[in-house]
């Protein structure tokens, strides 16, 4: 199986919900059961990507020159069906296996530098396992780590995030992680990489998990009665969103084609996935601007 890592970077608030909630928020976002950290289900990304990849190939040669009917048939047969499976009369499964996207970076209000891009050792360890790196995982007690050129400090030793003043140390290890992640999410933009690094912070696990619970974005919405112009009875609800500029990562596996009439190797199929960033809309509430995302599929690595 050919394994790669994908990154999902939401440019607007993202509502990948659960349909309904019985707790605080009427429409909460999906979270991993064991950690309560936000996730975006692999199935949400797969469906959207299927549509998007079709649109990408339609604009490419030789499909560009074909008639609508012709190219739909050929793209479906050669690319979409082997990768994602058939929509109708399914006689084989798709070759792609989408893992859930896990939270890597949560943007948090910061007194200095406007916003901090936060993560924690627990997440870095899981991320490292998936990416296959061999970096040191920081050990934190009560202090946070920031990169060498950080702009988050409010005095010599402290940063101020949301309601928390935390002692933070500049360390090479944090810079190192920041550089790595910045490169993964902004591969072609040194300026954005710098902006990211300056605001990167590794928080203690406990503080991060508290912020992931309480520092998501809650929006209250209403529905107006068209005739009276007042709120309709019972039409007031709250929605939870992952704040804009969060980053999630996930694992994506591609196997060989399972279509007996259209044999392709795993590498061949993985090669069909777009290498440039793709703009997608993911999750619910798209007509009110939620869920515009960049999806980046990192270079594939052969995993036996």
């Amino acid at each position: 199986m050919n394994k790669s890592i994908f990154y999902l970077h939401n440019l607007t608030a993202l509502h990948a919900g659960t349909g309904q909630g019985v707790g605080v928020v009427d429409l909460p976002i999906a979270r991993a059961k064991a950690t309560n950290l936000p996730i975006v289900a692999g199935s949400s990304i797969k469906g959207v990507l299927r549509d998007e990849i079709f649109d990408i190939f339609v604009k490419k040669s030789p499909y560009k020159e074909m008639t609508d009917e012709e190219r739909k048939q050929i793209i479906d047969k050669n690319i979409i069906n082997p990768l994602f499976g058939k929509n109708e009369n399914a006689d084989h499964a798709g070759a792609i296996a989408f893992g859930d996207a896990n939270l890597l970076i949560l943007p948090i209000r910061s007194f200095a530098g406007v916003v901090a891009y936060a993560t924690c050792p627990f997440i870095l360890r899981q991320y490292q396992r998936d990416v296959g790196k061999d970096k040191k995982i920081p050990q934190l007690n009560d202090n946070a780590l920031i990169s060498n050129d950080s702009i988050l400090l409010i005095n010599d030793t402290q940063i101020a995030l949301e309601d928390l003043d935390i002692v933070a140390n500049k360390e090479e290890l944090a810079s190192d992680w920041a550089t790595d992640i910045a490169h993964a999410i902004y591969p072609n933009s040194p300026e954005w990489q710098d902006e990211f690094k300056k605001r990167f912070v590794i928080l203690p696990d406990g503080i991060f998990s508290f912020l992931a619970d309480t520092a998501t974005e809650i929006r209250t919405r209403i529905k107006i009665d068209r005739h009276t112009r007042v709120v309709q009875d019972g039409a007031l609800w709250t929605e939870e969103n992952l704040p804009a500029d969060s980053v999630l990562w996930g694992v994506l596996g591609v196997s060989q084609s399972r279509d007996n009439n259209n044999k392709k190797s795993a590498d061949e199929l993985a090669g069909l996935l777009p290498k440039d960033e793709i703009n997608l809309q993911i999750g619910g509430k798209h007509t009110v601007g939620r869920g515009f995302c960049r999806l980046l599929i990192a270079d594939t690595k052969e995993q036996k």
Binding site: V22, G23, I218
Partner: protein, 153 residues
């Protein structure tokens, strides 16, 4: 042994049920009925809002807000003020295990270190969610018709 939410639910249910207006008073004591009805409606509005308020504005801020709104010692206190007093009282009852001995909830919050504060916040969100849930289940929505009847009576 009980699970944590069950404990909150057990305490919250009678508290919210007590806020329900007694329909018998509609005939026997219309004035009392009207007062109770107003209190029920005010309580309903605030209870539904409380968990989100704690989540968004923070625990200390929310309790401070409830205290400010509940402040009125005179017996003439309006339904709205009374509703805030009730809500604060209910939250304190629910969180009594988390409150330090001989301290109020507010004092406990102020003295807490960051770990205790985070724990209190999570507990308060969970506890107030039960007030919200049972309010939705037990306290009827304000219906204009019924309110008019109450005023007319």
């Amino acid at each position: 042994m009980q699970i944590r939410t069950q404990k909150y639910a057990e305490i919250a249910y009678p508290l919210v049920a007590n806020m329900k207006v007694n329909k018998e008073f509609k005939q026997t004591d219309p004035e009392k009925y009207k007062r109770q009805y107003e209190l029920q409606n005010e309580y309903r509005t605030q209870a539904l809002n409380l968990p989100t308020m704690i989540l968004q504005s923070g625990l200390a801020q929310s309790i401070g807000f409830l205290m400010a709104k509940a402040k009125n010692d005179s017996s003439e206190a309006k339904a709205k003020t009374k509703a805030f007093q009730k809500l604060l009282e209910h939250l304190e009852k629910l969180l009594k295990d988390s409150v330090k001995p001989n301290k109020t909830l507010h004092e406990t919050i102020l003295e807490s270190d960051i770990v205790q504060y985070q724990r209190l916040t999570r507990n308060a969100i969970e506890a107030s969610s039960w007030l919200k849930r049972y309010t939705q289940a037990l306290l009827e929505k304000d219906k204009k018709q019924e309110q008019n009847n109450a005023t007319d009576a």
